[in-house]
Symmetry: C2
Subunit: 459 residues, 2 copies
């Protein structure tokens, strides 16, 4: 196994860039769409490139659980035929997409990253997948998910850990780890993930791509295996914020439409990350510096409700997660990994009255966030408190403080699941050669503003 | 102490009827209103009659915690002055009302039936009380509540048990026991109660008056100390269904308006009560026979979701109740009675994941009830499975089966709190000289239909 894919630049699919060998690295969906419509490329070429990239790279990265060669090529041929025949389904027409293996795709295995579902085949498409297909996207397969999406590290899965393209000895982050690795490695230009406490934004941050979690409820979760129903979101990972926006509009059932957001001055509240969780000061520095692009009026913002927010997130996520799994825990505990079984059992100890209190504390947190987002248009902070830890690492020292890897990964993302606000992670630079994500949180309904500013600060 | 107030017919306030010596027994609010407007009576006379009845009877019944002589007379004088001056606030103008001691009345003690609040004085009116005052009602005082409204027997309260006017050795039922006794004894024509699992309908049934629980959310609970927020309802107890209707319209913010419901044929589903809880067959017989008045098409209806309904009610009530009291249980357990402390501690053992499941099971039950109420206009069954047990009794034999008094009291009422449907208990007859209640459950928004049929079957 190579210590890093970063410097590897061989193979027919290579773009020769520093960070990946996959065809799609550095190519936007818009560009690909133009080439398709100019007939310089066919959808079948894109699907073939995606399948080839997986073949070439996935032995090392383990980003993909199930590759649907036949289905992908058939869908691509159909997309080509439609385009030739004058039926243009819009910006995702003919674009290869990978789908996290906790989201139903009809006819494909959906393992949920778990031995419990090792042989489970979905009989219908999740609503988000159905919308992608209607928009002409070509599903190429399923990406590695942390077991039952219950973990931010991406290294506990029935098919083994997904590995970070920037250093295969390091974790992708999770739970949408395979989607993060697949996009970062250029296997696909776009992948679906889910995000309950940061599971789209964390792998985006650790793998150096863009990852967007919509407002709660904006994209249906039908056909997505639940982790914690009231915190679950379907999100997207892509090479650019513009590609995230394209995919989001399709998933949310909005018409494709160019953004009308331009370079007007934006008011942004910077949350010192240590208010929420101890953070590597080098990461804080990189993320903060990314905002110095002009046209952004940055002020410091200090939310006060951290304690209640933490209690609420914990009680809600734990109670809802255990409710999904109670029978499996009782009947077949041996089919869980130790990590996930331990946290699921702990989750079952949350009391009903604590859940009830948590609903009130969530309402308080939402009110505080709404108030903050009344004062500034966007909130900003790093996405994670650390760069990608090593696979299997569980403890870490952050700025001299020993803490958990789990907390260091979800500490800055989970508040926005609880708030239900749209949030994006974009690459902001590197620390020790590993990607650092900047997170922006916006107002529900003003996603275009969020995407526009994210594009300006993304590096 | 007299073994029964039924046969006692002395005193200036006596109406000479069989069941009470209080002035208001057998008098409707409409009649009183007519007398007020004909100037045959003044509001001050009604307040004086209420205060006098409490003085005469409450030593035996303990229905009243706090009597507001001064406030009642002042409000009555004002009501008289307004009427004389041409300001008529509608059907409750000048009518004495008693308020359960878990509902805030500005300037009066609100004990919640608990030593924890022995000296607690409310600083503002609950919204339901405010609406009564705007409608001209005269608040005469506060009625005994089971401790924190957490019990259907009415015999655990800081001020001692309320006692049944039909036999002071027997319980009133609860938790709105004082309101039931006060109305049954003719101390007041109307009293406010709250109902989380049957706490208005149960004392109505056991004391032989009418008790109405509105649809969930139809009457605000602001200023009412919570038992279980998502199951709590403010309701009314009165001598007749027509009086319940008058009061309900005021509390729900609806205009006073004569009912347009007349004698059209009604389709009614009879639920065999033993499907829900073992029931004294004599009670079943009395309640069923009350429906044989003509114009009612009775068919048998058998809901199937009992198990999920029971789990949902238990998990929701327990979790929400413990959430209200967690600190008091930890800090000052000695201020609870053993009964309530025991159930509150048990309530704390419900798991968060069970509460989460319960929310789903509540939705299923609501769907089933909505379907039943699509097939028939009303559902009917007895209100309680037993007549008034003796004070302090906790176990009881029902139709040869040993069971709990608690279950026998709430077994037929709690399903309709979970469903959120409007429900009324009306007197249907007696067993061994003790009142039997018939319960009718209706469609939210069609309360007038419920009241009209209740009036036809009430005995």
């Amino acid at each position: 196994m190579s210590p890093s894919l970063i410097s590897r630049a061989g193979g027919a699919l290579s773009t020769g860039t520093q960070h990946t060998t996959g065809f799609f690295h550095g190519r936007t969906i818009d560009e690909l769409g133009e080439q398709l419509r100019r007939e310089e490329l066919r959808a079948v070429d894109l699907a073939t490139a995606a399948l080839g990239a997986v073949d070439a790279l996935d032995g090392e990265l383990n980003a993909v659980v199930t590759l649907d060669r036949e289905g992908a090529l058939r869908a691509a041929e159909e997309a080509d035929a439609e385009l030739s025949g004058g039926l243009d389904r819009g910006p995702l027409h003919g674009i290869p997409v990978a789908v996290k293996d906790i989201i139903d795709v009809a006819g494909l295995r959906t393992t949920m990253g778990s031995a419990h579902f090792a042989d489970h085949v979905s009989t219908s498409d999740a609503e988000c997948v159905r919308r992608l297909r209607v928009a002409g996207a070509v599903i190429i397969g399923k990406t590695t998910t942390h077991e039952f999406a219950f973990g931010p590290t991406g290294d506990r899965a029935y098919n083994g850990p997904s590995r970070n393209p920037h250093d295969p000895g390091r974790m992708t982050g999770g739970s949408s780890g395979g989607s993060g690795a697949a996009v970062a490695a250029g296997m696909v230009p776009l992948a679906l993930g889910t995000d309950t406490g940061g599971s789209v934004r964390i792998p985006a941050s650790l793998c150096g791509v863009a990852g967007f979690k919509p407002a709660h409820g904006a994209v249906p979760t039908d056909g997505v295996f639940p982790l914690s129903r009231s915190l679950d979101h379907v999100g997207v990972l892509a090479g650019s914020t513009a590609d995230c926006r394209l995919a989001y509009r399709v998933l949310a059932g909005l018409r494709p439409m160019p953004s009308r957001e331009h370079g007007s001055e934006v008011s942004l509240g910077w949350i010192p990350p240590d208010l929420l969780h101890p953070t590597d000061p080098r990461i804080t520095g990189v993320a903060r510096a990314a905002l110095d692009v002009g046209g952004i009026d940055v002020r410091e913002v200090r939310p006060s409700g951290r304690e209640g927010m933490l209690r609420a997130f914990g009680a809600i996520q734990f109670s809802e997660a255990h409710a999904v799994h109670a029978e499996r825990i009782a009947d077949a505990p041996q089919l869980f990994t130790d990590d996930v079984l331990t946290i699921l059992r702990l989750a079952g100890e949350t009391a009903g009255w604590q859940y009830v209190r948590a609903l009130g504390e969530r309402a308080d947190w939402r009110a505080e966030v709404a108030e903050l987002l009344g004062e500034v248009e966007l909130l900003a902070m790093p996405t994670t408190c650390v760069t990608a830890p090593e696979i299997d690492q569980r403890e870490i020292e952050v700025n001299g403080t020993p803490t958990s890897v789990r907390g260091s990964l979800i500490g800055l993302t989970r508040p926005w699941n609880l708030a239900g606000a749209p949030a994006i992670s974009v690459p902001a630079g590197t620390v020790d050669g590993l990607p650092v994500g900047l997170q922006l949180v916006g107002r529900p309904g003003q996603e275009d503003r969020l995407f526009a500013v994210a594009a300006r600060v993304s590096r």
